[in-house]
C-alpha cells in the first residue's frame, strides 16, 4: 500500500519535488539553526545581490566562531531566485516550508519583496530586507533595515538646498521606488517654496544606456541662471553609462551636482570616477566612514573574500545591523520562534558601522544616520555631511496625502501596520 | 475587349509586363487558351515561362496588361487561393507534395470541397470522397501506396501524386511546369499519355524543355523569348521558324 502510493507519486512527477524535500529534511536532523539567504546569484540583479549573499555567509561564519546561537551552530541555506520575481516567492516558500529556516535575509528590488511578502505572512516567518526602498509598507513579518525615503532622500535635498540649489531635476528609472521618492520630493520641494517650473521630472527605462538626450536636457535646464542639481534615483546598471555621459559632456559637480540614492561603492567600482569627483550620494553608510567598527568590518570582509580590493556598501551594513538585531532578539526570546522574535525584536539595538547604535522601531524600520558623500577619484565617498543624530525610518510618508494619517506599530496592543490616526482604525483609511 | 474573345477564351492574357529590379521578365506578353485545349509552352531559360504562370495564378502581379479568366474575371486582382478556387491548378517544377502526410491525405486535401477554416475543422471524409481518391490513385498508379507517407515516394511517384492532386481539384485549367524533369523515358511517355488523356475535359498548359516530350504531346506550341511570344503553331511550324531557330541555336 505504502509502496504503491510512492510509485504513484513518482509517476506524477511530484516525486522529484518530494525528493528535494526529503533531502533537505536529512540536513534538518542535525542540531543547527538555519538561516535562509534569498539573493539573486544570476540574472540582472546578480550584479548587486551576490555581494549580499557573501556578506551573509561571512556574518554567519563569524557568529559560529563566537559560539553560534542558543548553543547551536547557524547553517546558511543559499538559493538562487535568479532575478525572476515569481521565483523569489517559490524559493521563499521552499526555504520556509522545506528547509525550515528560522529567518530569511534577502531581496533587493521592491518587486521581489512584494512577491515574497504574502509567503512570509502566510507561513509566518521573518524577512530582513536590507535595501533602501520607497516606504509605504509595514508588515509584521518583515524588517526593513535599509532606508525609508525620509532616511535618505529628504536629508539629501535639505543638504543641497543649504548649498544654494534652487532648480531641481528629478531623474529616475521608471519603477515604483523612483516614482514614490520623486512624488515625495516634489511635494516636499513645493511645500518649501520651489516653483513648479523649477522642477523637471524625467523617467527612463531599466538598463537605459543612451543618455545623450537626457544629459543634454539637464544641461539646458541648468542654464536658466539658477543653481541646479540632479536628484537621481536611476537604478543599477543604467548608472554607469549615465555617469560616463555626464563626465564626457563635461557636467561638473561644481556646476550641476548629481545626488544619487542608488549609487554606492559597488556601482562606482565599474567607472573611472576622476571626472565625477564631487557628485554626491546619500546613504546611511559609506565605506570611508572613519570608525573602528567599520575598519574591523572591512578587514574581516577582505579576509573572508580573500580579496583586499572588495568594497563594502550600505546594504551590506544593513544586513550587518539586521543580522545582529536578529541574533539579539533570538537570544532575548530564547527561541527562534517567529512570534517570539517579532515580540522581542522591537527596541533591540545594535551598533552600526558609522559609530552609532541603531534601534529597531515598532514600525519594523530602524534608526540610522544619514550621510552625504562626495565621489572621490579613488571610487570612494568623502562624507561631507552627517545628520546630527539618528533618523527613525518612517514607513508612511508625511508628504503623500493618503499615507499621511497612517502609522505602524507592531507592539501590543496596536499590532497594526497601517493604523489610521484620523479614523482610529487599523486598516488604512477605513 | 471584343465580344468574340470574351466568349471564346478560357484564359486571355494581353500586353502583360513585369520587371524585377529593372529586369523585364515579361514584356508585352499576349496569350489565350480555349477550354479543354492542350498547349505546350517552350522557350529558353529566362524566357518568362514561370513568371507567366506566377501571374496567371496570382502569385505575381503584372505591372501592366490584362489577364482575364473565362472572359469575366480579372486575374490580376486574385491571389493564389482565389485562382485555385476559380479552377486553375498548378504543378511546380520541383515536385511539391506534403511529405509528412500520407498519399491518401494528400489527395483528400486536394479534393474539391469547402476550403474554409470552419468547414475543414468539422469535415468528415465521405464514402464518395474515398471512392474518388481510389479512382485518382488508380489513374496515377499509386493504389498500393495509399497509406504511405508521401516523403517515402520516389521522385517520379511524387510528380504523379502532384498531378493526381491537381486532378483532384477538378480544375478547368492545369498549369504543369516541366512534368518530365527527372523521369525515365518510360515514365516520360506515360506522363505525356496521362496529360493527353486529361486534355479535353480540362485545359492544360505544359511548360517543357524536352522536345521529345513536346512532340509526344502533339499539340499547339507557344514559344516564349525574353518575356514575349515569338511563335505559335504546331511543333513542325514553330521549329521551322527562323526566329525560334536563332533563339535556340544562336547562343
Amino acid at each position: 500500500m505504502k509502496l504503491s502510493r510512492r510509485q504513484m507519486m513518482a509517476a506524477m512527477g511530484a516525486g522529484a519535488v518530494g525528493a528535494t524535500a526529503s533531502g533537505r529534511y536529512a540536513f534538518a536532523q542535525s542540531d543547527t539553526i538555519k538561516v535562509g539567504v534569498l539573493h539573486s546569484l544570476s540574472g540582472t540583479m546578480a550584479i548587486s545581490e551576490t555581494t549580499l549573499k557573501d556578506v551573509m555567509l561571512m556574518l554567519i561564519e563569524q557568529q559560529n566562531a563566537k559560539g553560534g546561537l542558543l548553543g547551536k551552530k547557524l547553517e546558511p541555506v543559499v538559493v538562487d531566485p535568479a532575478s525572476d520575481w515569481p521565483l523569489f516567492a517559490e524559493k521563499a516558500r521552499e526555504l520556509i516550508s522545506v528547509s525550515k529556516v528560522s529567518a530569511v535575509f534577502g531581496c533587493w528590488t521592491s518587486v521581489s519583496r512584494k512577491s515574497v511578502l504574502p509567503v512570509f505572512e502566510e507561513l509566518n516567518s521573518l524577512l530582513f530586507y536590507p535595501v533602501q526602498y520607497e516606504g509605504e509598507e509595514s508588515q509584521r513579518n518583515v524588517f526593513y533595515t535599509g532606508a525609508a525615503p525620509n532616511q535618505q532622500a529628504i536629508p539629501a535635498v535639505d543638504y543641497l538646498k543649504e548649498q544654494g540649489v534652487e532648480r531641481w531635476v528629478l531623474a529616475g528609472t521608471d519603477y515604483v521606488y523612483p516614482r514614490t521618492t520623486n512624488k515625495i520630493l516634489e511635494q516636499y520641494l513645493k511645500d518649501s517654496g520651489v516653483a513648479a517650473e523649477d522642477i523637471m521630472i524625467n523617467y527612463t527605462p531599466f538598463g537605459h544606456s543612451d543618455w545623450q538626450t537626457i544629459v543634454g536636457d539637464i544641461k539646458s535646464f541648468g542654464s536658466a541662471g539658477k543653481k541646479t542639481a540632479v536628484v537621481s534615483t536611476i537604478n543599477g546598471d543604467a548608472n554607469v553609462p549615465f555617469y560616463k555621459e555626464l563626465g564626457n559632456q563635461g557636467v561638473k559637480a561644481t556646476d550641476i551636482p548629481v545626488v544619487a540614492f542608488s549609487v554606492g561603492e559597488e556601482e562606482l567600482a565599474g567607472i573611472d570616477t576622476a571626472p565625477l569627483v564631487g557628485h554626491l550620494a546619500a546613504w546611511n553608510y559609506f565605506m570611508s566612514a572613519d570608525t573602528p567598527e567599520n575598519e574591523a568590518f572591512i578587514a574581516e570582509w577582505h579576509k573572508f573574500t580573500k580579496n583586499d580590493k572588495r568594497v563594502t556598501n550600505d546594504p551590506m551594513e544593513a544586513h550587518y545591523i539586521g543580522f545582529n538585531m536578529w541574533v539579539k532578539a533570538v537570544e532575548a526570546a530564547g527561541t527562534t520562534d517567529p512570534d517570539a522574535v517579532i515580540d522581542s525584536i522591537v527596541g533591540v539595538t545594535a551598533p552600526n558601522l558609522t559609530g552609532g547604535v541603531s534601534a529597531m522601531m515598532p514600525n519594523h524600520h530602524i534608526t540610522k544616520p544619514v550621510l552625504i558623500g562626495e565621489i572621490q577619484d579613488n571610487g570612494q565617498f568623502d562624507i561631507v555631511y552627517e545628520t546630527p543624530g539618528l533618523v527613525a525610518g518612517d514607513a508612511w510618508s508625511d508628504f503623500l496625502p493618503e499615507s499621511k494619517p497612517l502609522i505602524a506599530d507592531w507592539r501590543s496592543p496596536m499590532k497594526c501596520g497601517n493604523f489610521n490616526t484620523v479614523t482610529g482604525k487599523c486598516g488604512g483609511a477605513g | 475587349m471584343s465580344e468574340l474573345r470574351t466568349t471564346e477564351a478560357l484564359l486571355y492574357l494581353d500586353g502583360l509586363e513585369k520587371s524585377f529590379d529593372g529586369f523585364k521578365a515579361i514584356n508585352g506578353l499576349s496569350f489565350s487558351m480555349k477550354a479543354g485545349e492542350l498547349r505546350a509552352v517552350i522557350g529558353p531559360n529566362g524566357a518568362g515561362k514561370t513568371t507567366m504562370m506566377d501571374m496567371i495564378t496570382g502569385k505575381t502581379r503584372p505591372d501592366k496588361g490584362d489577364a482575364l479568366w473565362d472572359g469575366r474575371i480579372d486575374l490580376t486582382t486574385q491571389d493564389e487561393a482565389d485562382t485555385a478556387r476559380l479552377g486553375i491548378g498548378r504543378k511546380f517544377q520541383k515536385p511539391t507534395v506534403f511529405e509528412t502526410h500520407t498519399v491518401e491525405d494528400n489527395l483528400l486535401m486536394a479534393l474539391k470541397d469547402e476550403r474554409s477554416v470552419l468547414a475543414t475543422l468539422f469535415s468528415r471524409t465521405s464514402d464518395a470522397q474515398r471512392e474518388r481518391i481510389g479512382e485518382l490513385l488508380a489513374l496515377v498508379r499509386l493504389e498500393d501506396r495509399r497509406g504511405d507517407l508521401a516523403a517515402n515516394l520516389s521522385h517520379g511517384q511524387k510528380q504523379w501524386l502532384e498531378i493526381g492532386m491537381l486532378l483532384a481539384q477538378d480544375p478547368q485549367l492545369l498549369l504543369v511546369d516541366e512534368p518530365a524533369a527527372g523521369m525515365t523515358d518510360e515514365e516520360t511517355m506515360r506522363t505525356a499519355e496521362l496529360l493527353k488523356g486529361i486534355a479535353g475535359k480540362h485545359a492544360v498548359v505544359v511548360v517543357e524543355h524536352d522536345m521529345a516530350f513536346v512532340k509526344a504531346l502533339g499539340c499547339r506550341v507557344t514559344v516564349l523569348h525574353q518575356g514575349t511570344v515569338i511563335a505559335e503553331g504546331s511543333i513542325d511550324h514553330v521549329s521551322a521558324n527562323e526566329r525560334v531557330i536563332e533563339v535556340y541555336l544562336g547562343r
Binding site: 524625467n202 543634454g216 560616463k244 567600482a269 565599474g270 | -
Partner: protein
C-alpha cells in the same frame, strides 16, 4: 635669477643692490609669511573656514599660491596632527610624503594616521575655481588665461571686475581679449552696480555671443532691473533660443547617428551570422560581452605592468577581442552549429544554451559586478561644435563603426574568403563541388561575425557597463536592426542602424525614452508588414522559392 651679471658690478653698487634685494626679499617673505598664516588656518578646519581661507588667499592676490590651491582642490592637502602644520601630501605606500605648501619641497614623511586631510566639497571647489580664475588672469599661459576667463564668465562675480578690467587692458592675445570682454559683459549684465546703459550694452554683447552659458547669464539678470535692461534681456534671450533650437535639431541628428553607430556595431556581426549564414545566434550578445571583458583584461594588465601604454590599450584590445570572440565563435560553430545547418530554429535553442553558459562563465571568472574600463585620454571629454557638444568617445565609436563596416564590405567583396562565403551562401552544394571547403568557410564566416561582435564589445566598453549582462541588453536591438535592414545585406544593417538610431532620438524628446522605444518597435512591426524582408531585401524569383 640673473646672478652672473651681478658678479661684474662694482662693489658699492653691489651692496646697494644687495640691500634692495634683501628688502624685496623681506617684502616677499613677509607676503609669504602672511600667506602661510592664512594657509595654517586650514588645520582641522570646517567647510566655512576653508572657504574663508580661500577667499582670503584670493584677496591677498599672491599668484604663487595657485599650485597649492589646485592641490587643495584635488584633496591633496593634509595637516599634521602633531603640530597642526599644513602640507601638500602624496601617498607613498602606507605613508604620506609631506611637501611644503608654497615651495613644494619635501619636508617630512609620516604614517597614515599621523596626518589628516583638509576636506573639500563642491562649494569649496567652486570657491577655489573662482579664486584661481582671479589669480591666473595674468598667467603667461594663454590656456590658463582662457580658462580663467571662462570661469569668471560662469561665476559672474562682481568683485573680480577691477582685476578683469586691468587684465583686459594688458591683454594682447585677441582670443583671450574676446573672452575677457565676454566675461566682463556677463558680470556687467548681472551687476546691479553697473549703469543701465552699460548693462544694455553688455546684454546685447551676450545676445550676439549666444550659447547656453550666455543664456544662463542672461537668465540671471534680476527682474527688478530697469525696463530697458529687461527689454534688452528678453530680446537677447529670444535670439539665443532661436539659434539654440536650430542647433537642437542638429544635435538630435548627431545623437541619433551616434546611437545608430552603436547599434550598427552591435548588429553588424549578427548581419553576418544571421544574415549570411542563416544562423540565429542568440549568443551574439555574449560575444560582444567577451570583447568588452577582453578590453578590461588588457587594461588590467597594462595598469599593473605598463601604465604608460594606457592610451593605446584599446588599440591592443581590439585585435585581441576580435581573436577571443572569433575563437569562441569558431568553437561554437564547430561544436554546435555545424550539426544544425538547415534547421535555423534549432540553432536558436542551442545558442541560447551557449549564451547562458558564457554568461555564467564570465560571472564565475570575473565576478558578477561591473568592471571598470577606462577611457583613454583621447576618448575622454568633448568639444563644442557651434552649440553642440560632441563627446570624443562617441565620435570615435562612429568612426570605428564605419571603419569596421568598410573593412567587412571590402572583405566580402574583394577577398577570396569573401567570394567563397558568398558562394557557399548562394549554393552550398555547387560551391562544394567546385572545391570550396564549405566546413572551413562556415567556420570562418561564423568566426568573422563573432570577431566583429568582439570589436563591438571593445567600443561598448567605453560607454556602457562591463558586466555579465552586457550582451543581453543588446541582443533584441541587434535583431531588430538586422531584420529591419534586411537580412543578408551589410548595407541593410547600416541603413537599419542609422534609421532606427535617428528615429529613436527624434522621438525621445517628445515621447520620452520609454515611449520612444516602444514607438520604434511598433514602427518596425508595421514596416515588416509592408516589406516582409526588410529595407534592403534581395528581391526576385530566386529568393522566394
Amino acid at each position: 635669477m640673473a646672478l652672473a651679471p651681478l658678479a661684474c658690478l662694482p662693489f658699492a653698487r653691489l651692496a646697494r643692490l644687495a640691500s634692495l634685494c634683501i628688502a624685496l626679499l623681506c617684502a616677499a617673505t613677509s607676503a609669504q609669511a602672511e600667506t602661510r598664516d592664512i594657509i595654517a588656518r586650514l588645520a582641522n578646519a570646517k567647510f566655512p573656514v576653508v572657504k574663508q581661507v580661500i577667499e582670503d588667499l584670493a584677496a591677498a592676490g599672491d599668484p604663487t599660491v595657485a599650485p597649492f590651491l589646485r592641490k587643495l582642490r584635488a584633496g591633496k592637502v593634509y595637516w599634521r596632527k602633531s603640530d597642526r602644520a599644513v602640507f601638500i601630501a602624496e601617498r607613498e605606500k602606507r605613508d604620506y610624503a609631506l611637501f611644503d605648501p608654497i615651495t613644494g619641497a619635501k619636508v617630512d614623511q609620516v604614517g597614515r594616521r599621523a596626518a589628516k586631510k583638509v576636506r573639500v566639497n563642491n562649494a569649496i571647489r567652486s570657491a577655489i575655481d573662482a579664486a584661481l580664475a582671479g589669480l591666473t588672469l595674468s598667467s603667461p599661459k594663454v590656456e590658463t588665461r582662457l580658462a580663467a576667463a571662462k570661469q569668471l564668465f560662469a561665476d559672474r562675480d562682481a568683485s573680480a571686475l577691477p582685476a578683469l578690467t586691468a587684465a583686459l587692458a594688458r591683454e594682447k592675445d585677441p582670443t583671450v581679449k574676446t573672452a575677457f570682454e565676454d566675461a566682463r559683459a556677463a558680470i556687467l549684465a548681472t551687476s546691479t552696480a553697473a549703469t543701465p546703459s552699460e548693462r544694455v550694452k553688455a546684454i546685447a554683447r551676450l545676445g550676439e555671443r549666444g550659447g547656453s552659458d550666455s543664456l544662463n547669464a542672461l537668465s540671471a539678470v534680476d527682474a527688478k532691473a530697469p525696463a530697458d535692461v529687461l527689454a534688452a534681456k528678453e530680446s537677447a534671450i529670444a535670439e539665443i533660443k532661436r539659434s539654440l533650437a536650430v542647433w537642437g535639431a542638429a544635435e538630435n541628428i548627431w545623437q541619433g547617428v551616434s546611437l545608430g553607430s552603436v547599434l550598427l556595431l552591435a548588429a553588424i556581426g549578427l548581419a553576418i551570422t544571421f544574415g549570411v549564414m542563416g544562423v540565429i545566434n542568440m549568443a551574439h550578445g555574449e560575444l560582444v560581452m567577451l570583447g568588452a571583458y577582453t578590453t578590461f583584461a588588457v587594461q588590467e594588465v597594462i595598469r599593473v605592468s605598463a601604465p604608460a601604454l594606457f592610451d593605446v590599450s584599446l588599440l591592443i584590445a581590439a585585435p585581441l577581442a576580435f581573436l577571443v570572440a572569433g575563437g569562441v565563435g569558431v568553437a561554437i560553430e564547430r561544436g554546435v552549429c555545424r550539426f544544425l545547418y538547415g534547421r535555423p530554429l534549432e540553432t536558436l535553442l542551442a545558442t541560447w544554451g551557449v549564451s547562458l553558459i558564457l554568461q555564467q562563465l564570465v560571472r564565475s571568472i570575473f565576478g558578477p559586478n561591473n568592471r571598470e574600463v577606462g577611457n583613454p585620454s583621447w576618448m575622454s571629454g568633448a568639444f563644442e561644435l557651434g552649440e553642440m557638444t560632441i563627446t570624443y568617445n562617441r565620435l570615435w565609436i562612429l568612426i570605428f563603426a564605419l571603419a569596421v563596416f568598410a573593412l567587412l564590405l571590402g572583405l566580402m567583396k574583394r577577398t577570396p574568403l569573401g567570394l567563397q562565403m558568398r558562394a557557399v551562401t548562394q549554393n552550398r552544394a555547387m560551391a562544394a563541388d567546385m572545391g570550396v571547403r564549405t566546413g572551413w568557410v562556415d567556420a570562418m564566416t561564423f568566426g568573422l561575425g563573432a570577431g566583429v561582435a568582439g570589436l563591438a564589445g571593445v567600443a561598448l566598453s567605453q560607454i556602457d557597463n562591463v558586466s555579465p549582462n552586457l550582451g543581453q541588453s543588446y541582443i533584441v536591438d541587434s535583431f531588430m536592426v538586422v531584420v529591419f535592414g534586411g537580412a543578408g545585406n551589410l548595407w541593410g544593417a547600416l541603413a537599419g542602424a542609422f534609421t532606427l538610431g535617428v528615429a529613436n532620438k527624434f522621438l525621445e524628446p517628445y515621447a520620452g525614452a520609454v515611449l520612444g522605444k516602444i514607438l520604434v518597435l511598433v514602427f518596425i512591426i508595421l514596416f515588416i508588414q509592408k516589406r516582409p524582408r526588410g529595407l534592403f531585401a534581395i528581391r526576385g524569383r530566386a529568393v522566394e522559392s
